[in-house]
């Protein structure tokens, strides 16, 4: 038998095998019920590589029940599959559809097989009948290089595609991390309220409370700000800065909102117990002493002491100088 005859016999055998395989896959047994047939084509979404017809899971049974109901209602196989795919996508089809992006999955094996056969046929034609290896048959370094490059490019391409396909999804939710590390610009007050309510006993929740309370305070919504400042001040785990901020805000809201000078002064004193040099506590205490007609002289002394502080910000210094001038002139607090 000649080499050419053997090659054609080989190709014919491969082609026959392919036809048999295609027929085996495409022709469905006539005795199979429609429900089982549809179920056998749909992958159980809670299993690994098992059809809903074969899986004992509750989800698979519920899906089979749905298919049974649709069949009884007169739906076609295509309509039932379409309904399920609309929710789950083609990911639940055991055999990917021969269309769109998955068409390549069907064509790739055939293409590779044809290409491989073509390479083998040409290779055999090029090989000397005698089988004697000569120098002529050895690949040149240039051809070795080309072959290596082809192999490398193929490998790199596949690795890149695999890395893209397998890359990690987004990480876990933010949780109750430090609010200063979060971008809260687009976060609503309702969301902050929910975060605080859901993490009421979390040790880091004071930062969130203060962030929300400051929003309410700046908007003049003392009623909404009050419980958050109070919770921080009474938490027992607040930092010195958090406690002072809460106490002076509570004090000022008591004075500004309800004209409760005594309560305000008590809260400012609590803040000064934590940090006797707190500029904001001293200034607000002096302001209430003056504006609340409590003790203008004491207020004057406090303002003077603050002006002696070299670390007083320029903006605050200007304000206090204006207040002190008004005090000295005997003008009313405005």
């Amino acid at each position: 038998m000649s080499e050419r005859t053997r090659t054609w016999l080989f190709l014919t055998a491969i082609a026959t095998l392919g036809v048999v395989l295609v027929l085996t896959v495409s022709v469905q047994p006539q005795t199979e019920s429609r429900v089982s047939h549809i179920g056998s084509r749909i992958k159980c979404p809670v299993c690994q590589g098992e059809s809903i017809a074969d899986s004992p899971s509750q989800m698979a049974q519920d899906m089979m029940s749905l298919i049974e109901e649709r069949v009884a209602q007169g739906a076609t196989d295509a309509e039932i599959e379409t309904e399920i795919l609309a929710a789950y996508s083609g990911a639940v089809l055991l055999d990917p559809p021969m269309s769109g992006r998955t068409l390549a999955l069907w064509l790739a094996p055939a293409a590779v097989a044809i290409l491989g056969l073509a390479v083998i046929v040409r290779w055999r034609r090029q090989t000397p009948e005698s089988g004697v290896t000569t120098d002529v048959g050895r690949p040149s370094s240039r051809r070795r290089l080309i072959g290596g490059v082809v192999l490398t490019v193929a490998m790199v391409t596949i690795v890149v595609i695999a890395a893209t396909a397998l890359q990690d999804r987004e990480g876990p939710a933010a949780g109750v991390a430090n609010p200063e590390a979060q971008d809260l610009e687009n976060v609503s007050n309702e969301t902050l309220e929910a975060v605080i309510a859901a993490n009421d006993d979390h040790p880091d929740i004071n930062g969130w409370r203060l962030a929300l309370a400051e929003r309410y305070y700046e908007a003049g919504d003392y009623r909404s700000a009050f419980p958050h400042y109070l919770a921080v001040a009474d938490s027992g785990v607040a930092s010195a800065a958090e406690a002072i901020t809460s106490l002076v805000r509570l004090g000022w809201m008591a004075y500004d909102g309800n004209e409760e000078s005594e309560t305000a002064l008590t809260l400012f004193d609590r803040a000064l117990e934590i940090d006797p040099s707190s500029q904001v506590a001293l200034y607000l205490k002096g302001t209430v002493l003056w504006c609340g007609d409590r003790d203008a002289d004491a207020a004057r002394d406090m303002f003077a002491d603050l002006l002696d502080d070299p670390e007083l910000p320029d903006e605050s210094r200007v304000q206090i100088e204006e207040d002190l001038a008004d005090l000295d002139a005997g003008e009313e607090c405005t």
Binding site: S89, A154, P172, V187, I196
Partner: protein
């Protein structure tokens, strides 16, 4: 010489095929539930589910014009227990803002779900319903729980969270919808299947 070049090309093809097989094989171990939901950007599937404690049924059509958060949960799901307080807090915080939270039981006897809610606490702002026969879960393409879907005022599915949610994640998604944006799909962790 030409034959040897073909030989090298053939080896290249063999190597590429083996590598491709390895990649495809590695995908079999992945979580099948991580595919992007085809419902995103589409009208939300209609549903009608019975309230857990009786009192009739709830249909999606009853919530027309509202932002709807549809969460699937069960007492046997550890992540669902972790996110319970966050759903209560979110529902309460947004109750007056046109946001409705619906929590549907997933593959669990409704009495067991009710007992669980009795232990963990409920929110008056949440609709607790029973998904009989997993019909709503199937319609929404649920792979496991917890899974949460976001439906905007026009009835379009605009977001999905796979895994445990927290109040900040839920609130941020609602805030985005209120700004007219679509939060899209986010994977925050694993999902659970019903125990055998």
């Amino acid at each position: 010489m030409r034959g040897q070049a073909l030989k090298w090309t053939a080896w290249g093809l063999v190597g590429a095929t083996v590598a491709l097989a390895v990649v495809l094989a590695s995908r079999f171990g992945g979580d099948p539930g991580l595919v992007d939901s085809p419902l995103l950007g589409k009208p939300a599937p209609e549903f009608e589910m019975e309230y857990l404690d009786g009192g009739g049924t709830l249909a999606l059509g009853d919530l027309e014009g509202e932002i709807v958060i549809l969460n699937f949960f069960a007492s046997w799901c550890p992540e669902c227990r972790k996110e319970h307080d966050d759903f209560v807090a979110t529902a309460d915080a947004f109750a007056a803002e046109g946001v409705t939270v619906v929590q549907a039981t997933y593959q669990e006897d409704p009495e067991a779900s009710s007992r669980y809610l009795d232990q963990e606490g409920r929110s008056d702002a949440i609709h607790y319903v029973h998904d009989a026969g997993s019909r709503t879960a199937i319609a929404y393409g649920v792979f496991g729980i917890p899974e949460t879907f976001f439906i905007d005022e026009s009835g379009t599915v605009v977001g999905k969270i796979i895994g445990e949610s927290d109040a900040l994640t839920l609130g941020a998604a609602i805030d985005a919808i209120r700004r007219g944006e679509s939060p899209g799909q986010e994977v925050t962790g694993n999902t659970q299947q019903a125990p055998d």
